[in-house]
Amino acid sequence: MSHPLPQIMLNELDYSYPNGTVALRKINLNIYRGELVGIMGMNGAGKTTLIRTLNGLIRPSNGTVNIEAENIEPKSIGELSKKVGLIFQNPQHQIFSNTVAEEIEFSLKSLNLDKEKVRNKTIEVLKTFNLEKYRERSPLNLSGGESKKLAIASTICRDPEILVFDEPTLGQDAKEISFFTNLLKEERENGKTIIIVTHNIEFAMEYIPRTILMAKGKIIADGITKKVLTNQYLVKKSSLVLPQTRKFALKLKEIGIKCPDNIFSKVEMKNFLANYLKTKLTEV
């Protein structure tokens, strides 16, 4: 994080919905280029509203959104979508073309590329996402996981510098989640900034280095995921549950096994237990 200026700067954001619900209160947030940030919190905490301000779908009632040191207020959603790719929870909300390939092409059209480039890019993206075999098939017949992949592909093909995912792991099986985590790794290597809204605490613990915790439209914590999500007070305040390894560690303490507080991941827990058993066995 050697960049002096944050890529995303939210300054004193306020937003209320037309029906009077206050969704964001005085949000201040800096996100640097190349970061992978998780946004967590209970339903209605303002997570989705917050990410919608990043590409102008929601214009804050107060405060400013700066992306790459530019205030986005005068910019259209179309312009902003070239920089910020927002991927929604429900892929069915965007699928409409006759074929999977056309679905990708639709996203590329607004970039004013020539036909050849659009075709090549489509082929490349379908290959990356293992969707080649469905190329000429109707996207409406894809399975849940595959249509989610297609939705992600149709945004990533536009090559935005900031990727924002709303609940990407929801309803995904283990194989699909592992595909997604590989994708995250690749995109980070390409220098992309990634923001993920999720309820999946295990996923966050394992893959997301920085977590922002929200409650009632405010940011109540912002820091290293392992610290934020193992803080019992914060976790309770945002109606989350502690990660399994933490719950397990607490249970171990209850029965008198001294489990250190810095165990967060499943691997660390496995190693600790293996060592513990080894020493116990040698004692016997």
Partner: protein
């Protein structure tokens, strides 16, 4: 595209004279006002009819929602003005605006104050089979849900570079596809899900069902009905005898 005006047709629980009326009386109200509105193309009777609606809006404590429906339909109103002025005259256009305002208001008051369940009950009391009455009320129940879904679809498409601005009629129609296809597909899927959920809760297994709530035509409903019939009879009388009416009623705008 603002779908905000759909809010103006969504039931809101309040305690007011209009809310407490029997749904059948309110259905009659919407029908009577629509017929009366359609009887006239002249400014004065339409205006008088419209003015009789204003107190009802305040009696139902729904001025804000009503304003929202009018604002939401302002583009439709604009089209009516332009077309009527172009082909006929501005005076006629203004009459037509008042006519459409009467109809929007009448139906807006109905949908704002009648709970979908009461709507079903009133249809059943008119001997409409339960399955149809239920589907009808279910359809209204889903209007706001579909409005939210339409907004989400629009957001999702805009997030990948879709832009509404297109010139030319064919382009504009083509431009609706990315919005309409997902909306129709997800609505059909939802319909199947709802049907399955209903069947798994034994919908339609018993022929003679009983109802938890009942509706009753009370004195104030009868009084309101008499008022509505008076409006209808007077409107029809004026229409038939229109040329015999006093001069002020025949007055038209000089444009």
């Amino acid at each position: 595209m603002s779908l905000e005006f759909l809010q103006a047709f969504k039931f809101q629980k309040k305690n007011s004279f209009i809310h407490n009326l029997d749904p059948r009386a309110k259905l009659l109200f919407s029908i009577v006002y629509s017929i009366s509105g359609l009887l006239f193309t002249e400014l004065v009777p339409l205006l008088v009819l419209f003015l009789t609606l204003i107190p009802l809006i305040f009696l139902g404590k729904m001025f804000k929602e009503w304003m929202r429906s009018i604002r939401g339909l302002s583009s439709l109103i604009l089209i009516i003005i332009v077309l009527n002025t172009y082909f006929l005259s501005l005076a006629y256009a203004i009459s037509m605006i008042i006519r459409i305002l009467i109809m929007i208001t009448a139906f807006s008051i109905f949908f704002l104050t009648v709970h979908p369940n009461d709507l079903a009950l009133s249809l059943i009391s008119m001997k409409i089979p339960y399955e149809y009455a239920f589907s009808f009320s279910l359809a209204f129940r889903f209007v706001p849900t579909i409005a939210i879904e339409a907004q989400n679809i629009m957001d999702a498409q805009q997030s990948r570079g879709y832009e509404m601005k297109q010139t030319g009629l064919i382009n504009q129609i083509k431009n609706l596809f990315p919005l309409l296809v997902p909306l129709i597909v997800s609505s059909i899927k939802r319909a199947f899900n709802v049907a399955e959920a209903l069947e798994s809760r034994a919908f339609g297994t018993i022929k003679n069902r009983t109802y938890y709530y009942s509706i009753k035509y009370s004195v104030k409903d009868w009084m309101f009905t008499i008022y509505l019939f008076l409006i209808l009879i007077i409107s029809i009388y004026i229409r038939i005898q229109f040329l015999l009416m006093p001069e002020w009623m025949l007055w038209t705008l000089p444009v």
